[in-house]
């Protein structure tokens, strides 16, 4: 199995998971949970926000050389 095939498999898995979201009935606690593909959007934006937040905190606040405390 090469990388190209894996890529197609991955994208089809993304599509299937979104499509499945329209088919199942969920019991949402909040109105926005019942939006179509809500968790897909949450996962995508959430991962970007967390990676970006940690990058920004590291870049401007906490990253130091390994010998900082020596």
């Amino acid at each position: 199995m090469n990388l190209e095939k894996l890529k197609y498999l991955f994208y089809s898995a993304l599509l299937i998971s979104v499509a499945a979201g329209f088919m199942v009935t969920s019991h949402p606690y909040f109105w926005w949970e019942s939006l179509p593909a809500f968790y897909a959007v949450f996962g995508l934006t959430g991962s970007i926000i967390i990676a970006a937040a940690s990058w920004i905190i590291g870049r401007y606040l906490v990253r130091r050389g390994e010998d900082y405390y020596d």
């Binding site: 991955f10 898995a13 993304l14 998971s17 979104v18 499945a20 979201g21 199942v24 009935t25 969920s26 019991h27 606690y29 909040f30 949970e33 593909a37 809500f38 968790y39 897909a40 959007v41 949450f42 996962g43 995508l44 934006t45 959430g46 991962s47 970007i48 926000i49 967390i50 990676a51 970006a52 937040a53 940690s54 990058w55 905190i57 590291g58 606040l61 906490v62 990253r63 130091r64 050389g65 390994e66 900082y68 405390y69």
Partner: protein, 636 residues
Amino acid sequence: MIEPVHPAFIFILGGLLLPLLRNLRLKQAYLLVLPVLAFMSLYSMPHGTYWTYRLMDYTLTLGRVDALSRVFAFAFLVIAFCALLYGLHVKEDGHQTAACMYAGSALGVVFAGDLITLYIFWEVMAVASAFLIFYRRTEAAVGAGMRYLMVHAFGGICLLAGIVMYIQATGSYAFNSLDYGIPGTFFILLGFLINAAVPPLHAWLPDAYPEATVTGIIFLMAFTTKSAVYVLIRGFTGLEILMWLGAMMAVYGVVFAMLQNDIRRLLSYHIISQVGYMVAGVGMGTYIALNGSIAHAFNNVLFKGLLLMCAGAIIYATGKSRFTELGGLYRAMPLTAVLFMIGALSISGVPLFNGFTSKPMIMSAAGELQNSIIYALLVGAGVGTFLCIGLKIPYLAFSGDSPGLKIRHPPLNMTLAMGLISALCILIGLYPQALYGILPYDAAYTPYTPGHVVGEVQLLLFTLWGSLMLKSIIVPKSDIALDFDLFYRIPGRTFIWFVSNPVANASSQIAAFFTMIKDYMLWFLRNPQTSAALFIQLLYPGNYRLKDTAEQNVSKRVIHRSPIGDSVTLTLAFTSIYTIYYIIKGGEQFTGALYPVLAWAVFGGVLLIAAAVFAMLFVVPAITFAIIQTRKINRG
């Protein structure tokens, strides 16, 4: 039926007796039998109160067995068995004893029925666990271990102060729900929160854990934070601030985990995130939330233990722990890679693995409370979990090209422990009733609903997609990330500098002054008359050979010697003064008009002589000494 023995004592005494065994195989068998014995003992006692002892005016309850303490004890015994198996090859008895005592004291905390017993086991736990860090025997480990010990000593003091104030205020020392607002509960809570590693009191954890031994960190991961979750459930169920603190720390942990370059430091930050879920559940306080916290604590010791075991296997095999020095390990250590992925999928909450059976329970509790912010924070922390453990570590450690690492294969017992624990992860994932059956609160929960499974899969797949687009961001650099420990490491260093420079200098100045007085007394008392003579020489240098005497060590040269010894002279002088004093004060039996006049005259005369002698003997030589010293210094 056999009388049950307190599981804590099985571990503590068992650990202390371990060094008496001489044979390695025997020791290994013995270590594995300990948790089995404790397990049998635990299940031979029904719910109730055991082992009460009187200590002065207090009745200590060492064994309160109910559903809550039992489920935590069960989790601790499972992980103790796995961790002992994982560390079976360790040949240092001290390390194994510390591990056993640590596990035992954690069990003691879980079964403690009163605050005094709790405090005792709490402190044993802190000290025993520090040795699992010290035994790494590196400079960094000793430093981190000391900081760890200091923080926990502070936490212990807070707990003790809180307990004393609480007993003063209420007269009760039973360890049940502590009403926040009673004096002292604040300090008890502070002590608990330090052990639960709630930011900003968390920095000890990612500071110390990555410096621990490969096997020690499995114990550290399991006991301190999870027993803190237990005591929070016991004491502070439903305290709303805990819900916010927990959700905040769940996110804080993953954001900082993303920044780390050391594999075990990343996992340590992630412990904070995971404990955040549990603390949030305690803060919510509903039955489903508490069950969720407990189930998550149980699952967490399994999958986090598995992840740290795999990380330990990597460190054991390569001697490296930084991502910048690792890579391509999938080819060299395929089994470790697969087991790590089981742990990573479990912790990320992938359906069919055990994380999925407990984490959504806490989220559902937040949903039932209609608290959307907490809910979103917890889901977001789940995204971060998958990002840093499910994706970052495998991408950096297992995939890619190997930077030419030499592999020393870990011993069989380590692999066995990893296999056993990953089997448990999958077992609970497939058959969650095994876990739900032992949860203490009455709240039904079904994890595998279609909506739930689909939502979770969507979340994780799109997180994966997002991270693939952000690959360049998660590549580490060889650096460290500052954290709140900065606030005691830098002042701590300043304090050490202050003590070892200004304070030490001042004290050596004072010491030098008194040493000088001592030198003078020695010099003078060896021959008081010589010193007096020297003074005269100083005043009239032309008549005497001052230069010679001053330049040589005068204490050794005798210039004048009195017919009777100096000490005899002194004795005589003091005796005379005393005699005169006696005549005046004690002489009522003497009579006569002139007597007082005579006596005063004699006394006055002797006083004058004494003053002169004193001046000759003490003041004059002191000046002499000083002048000689000054000349010596000037010449030098």
